[in-house]
């Protein structure tokens, strides 16, 4: 069921890169929100309130979420569903705007030395933590050290951002300036400085979190709700609008749907297409992209799938549009390689049509590979992602057309992580991968020796391209290399890339300002009531 949440999914956008930034995604449990650069269209109940109408201050809203929080400490939380909530309480030195650009947040400005060995941040003046203390250079140094693993002793439970382990030292230049020195220079690391800034040596972050974000933590009841109130001292003039936001935890999307029907939830970000169409009269339905690569990922070293022709045959046998129609009511973007369209700069739309649905061609390729009578393989799917489970069911039917018999094996998310992702003991799996706002992040698992290369994909040409891309500091060159890598993945049919799933959000029509981001967050600071503030808690 959709419930669940994945804990772990880690990956979350800017923060975790993780062993590989992988992770899955999923739909209804939602995962990344979309980005502004991809299509964000609105179809709503009455009028286009989201862009017009007078914003008023005050009021309170209830936001539905379907997974419980795994920690209130921003450096300990791993679940994507937790980070999307904590985003409203904490901020980093920089943050992503709706177009995917990194803009200064707690830092007023930053400079990166040309070789990428030094990052210098100038702090914004007069920013206060929710407990009233001013944010100092010491707090920033403490926070950065805490999430990069430089604190000794290391605090229990803190998840170290592996990309930040490149940091060798953090120096206080003056009261307002902090310089970060990289052991291994890199110009791509700014995206990781979204890491939350917290007060130095504050001991109750687990239970009474204190940050600098637009909302202050008020209370948390496991399995029930997290309540946050307006931060009156927020440094951005005019924000936030709302006085109070309650994140309400539902058992699953079905239970949440009942509450939407009853009108007790104002914003719910993980609708299925079916639910969206039922709610279109009472809610404004907004559509963004989940910024995920949903694919039938193949183990390139296993059985018949080790043969490139077999993999290509599966690509030809997959009617991707039909999949999208079936599982997502036609909402979703067909993709052709391991990149989603909102990464505009690196996205190659041509690859979408590289494999046109063609069962004849598929059968020919199978025959060439010696499987004229088809073969049997197993698709392992994490059972908590209804969306992926349904996709797999459609694929099974499609592959039957070319005589290939696919079986579905559902396993728990925990087993998926250990058997499939780490153990690489599988033939094929349907999940969604997301990525950081760092161009290399989404592709680097395809290096032959990458620890998170759970596809066992090996291509020395790709490895060389990566080496070149990492070496260069020129954006255009990087772009060329990364696009070339995507093309190779498509040609090798490393996996059957299906879609960048749509993200459907139900928003109370009296609300405006809901914004999609290319990272996985629910930004409540920009949400406001139109005309008259209401109270819902």
């Amino acid at each position: 069921m959709r419930k669940k949440v994945s804990i772990l999914m880690s990956i979350l956008v800017l923060v975790t890169v993780v062993l590989g930034g992988c992770s899955d995604g999923d739909n209804q449990t939602g995962k990344d929100t979309s980005n502004g650069s991809s299509q964000t269209q609105t179809q709503n109940a009455g009028g286009d309130e989201t862009s017009t109408g007078d914003a008023v201050y005050g009021g309170s809203i209830v936001v539905g979420i379907t997974q419980d929080l795994d920690s209130l400490d921003p450096h300990k939380a791993v679940a994507a569903g937790t980070k999307e909530v904590l985003y409203n309480i904490f901020e980093g030195l920089v943050k992503a705007d709706k177009d995917g650009n990194l803009v200064p947040a707690l830092a007023e400005s930053y400079t990166i030395s040309p070789d990428g060995s030094e990052y210098t941040f100038v702090l914004r003046d007069g920013v206060k933590f929710h407990n009233g203390d001013l944010v100092t250079a010491e707090d920033v140094i403490y926070s950065l050290k805490r999430c990069s693993g430089l604190l000794t002793p290391q605090e229990e439970g803190v998840v170290i951002e592996s990309a930040l382990s490149a940091i060798s030292d953090i120096i206080k230049v003056d009261e307002k300036t902090v310089k970060v020195v990289m052991g291994e220079p890199s110009t791509e690391l700014i995206g990781y400085f979204t890491c939350s800034i917290i007060p130095e040596d504050y001991k109750e972050q687990d239970t009474k979190p204190v940050g600098t974000g637009p909302f202050c933590f008020e209370s948390y009841t496991p399995l029930t709700e997290l309540v946050m109130t307006k931060n009156p001292d927020y440094y951005l003039e005019g924000k936030p609008y709302l006085d109070k936001v309650t994140f309400k935890i539902s058992a699953n999307t079905d239970a949440a749907f009942m509450e939407l029907m009853a009108g007790t939830i104002d914003i719910f970000p993980y609708l299925t297409a079916e639910q969206a169409s039922q709610l279109k009269d009472t809610y404004t339905i907004m559509e963004g992209s989940m910024n995920l690569v949903q694919a039938l990922f193949l183990n390139n070293a296993e059985g018949p799938l080790a043969d490139v022709r077999v993999r290509q045959a599966l690509c030809y046998a997959t009617d991707r549009q039909a999949v999208i129609d079936m599982v997502a009511g036609g909402r979703g973007h067909v993709i052709g390689s391991n990149m989603f369209p909102s990464f505009t700069q690196y996205y190659d739309a041509e690859l979408e049509t590289y494999y046109e649905y063609n069962t004849e061609k598929a059968k020919e390729l199978l025959a060439e590979a010696g499987y004229a009578d088809g073969f049997t393989f197993t698709i392992t799917v994490p059972s908590n992602y209804q969306f992926h489970v349904e996709t797999a069911q459609v694929l099974v039917e499609q592959y039957r057309q070319i005589g290939v018999e696919a079986k579905i094996q559902l396993i728990e998310w925990g087993s998926w992580l250990s058997d499939v992702y780490q153990g690489r003991n599988y033939e094929a799996t349907v999940v969604g991968l997301d990525a950081e706002l760092v161009p290399s992040d989404i592709l680097k698992r395809y290096r032959s020796n990458a620890s998170n290369n759970f596809l066992n994909y090996k291509n020395t040409e790709v490895d060389e391209l990566f080496a070149k891309a990492f070496a260069t500091v020129k954006d255009e060159e990087k772009e060329t290399y990364y696009k070339e890598i995507q093309r190779l993945l498509t040609e090798d049919a490393a996996s059957v890339y299906i879609q960048a799933p749509a993200l459907l959000v139900a928003v109370n029509p009296n609300l405006g300002g809901y914004t999609f981001y290319p990272v996985y967050v629910q930004d409540m600071a920009s949400v406001y009531y139109i005309g008259e503030a209401q109270v819902n808690e």
Binding site: K3, K4, I7, L8, M9, S10, I11, T16, V18, L19, G20, G21, C22, S23, D68, D70, S71, K76, V78, E156, G157, V159, S162, D206, T221, P222, L223, T224, K248, S250, A251, N252, A255, A256, M258, E259, M261, A262, G263, T264, I265, N384, E412, W413, G414, S415, L417, S418, D419, Y421, Q422, N452
Partner: protein, 311 residues
Amino acid sequence: MKYLVKKLITLIITLLLVSCAAFIAFQVIPGDSVTLALGTDFTEEAAEQMREELGLNRSIPARFADWMAGAVRGDFGTSSQYKQPVSQLIADRLPVTIWLAVLSMLMITVISVPLGILAAKSSGGILDRMITLITQITMAIPPFFLGIILTLVCGILLSWFTPGKYVAPDKDFSAFLHYMIFPAMAVSIPKIAMVVKFLRGSVLRQLSLDYVRTARSKGNKESAVLVRHVLKNALIPVVTFLAMVTADVLAGSIIIEQVFNLPGLGRLLVVSISNRDFAVVQAIILYIAFVVVLINFLVDLLYRWLDPRVE
């Protein structure tokens, strides 16, 4: 007295066995909680460190001894998911489940006793047949679906309550009770059917006994016979049956809590199972085991007290 001691020993043995089983069972499961907690951040070192923090790197008997020692003191360790003491997590959720059980038991008793007697009194008549048919149908509906139908009809169509608008008892008790009525209904309806059926049988059995004939022949009115003689005897088994239903009510609430989005023990259990948060699962199992065994023990005592003929 001897009986009491024997029962007590059984009780303790049962609890020991359950806790042993609950502990061992969760040691053999594939996909441990450390892997899950680390997710895609998994590295051998991180896992090793976490195991050490959680004390998972020691031998099974040593951990069992520790766990039992803790359990006796009410300390079930720390939840890997919530990083909170398990006992705290359970204590926070317990009131919801207890209230659900109490309200359900209340409904069951208040509704099923009159219905059961009515059915027995009009045995074979149209009323009896109706009651029996309805009870049988309600027993045939899967409880979760009953819950969904109730939400749909009472919540969405009739607006008697707002689905999902659960209020914590310490915030607004009457609003809490108002909401709880509906999940309690979902839990109790199938059980009402069971009790009605059982009570009806019990009354009928008594009615066929000699003493009833004697009472009747003495010229007592039918209703007087029923109330003064039959009911007293017929209710004895029903009381114990009701007590046993309590265990069922607890189980029923596991599913109903999901349907009505109640933050009770059942939801914690299901969430913990899917998160493989075994410290919590073990504690809840032990907890429910304790309650169930205790109830059985009390039922035994009650039964002996009500009906001293039982050996």
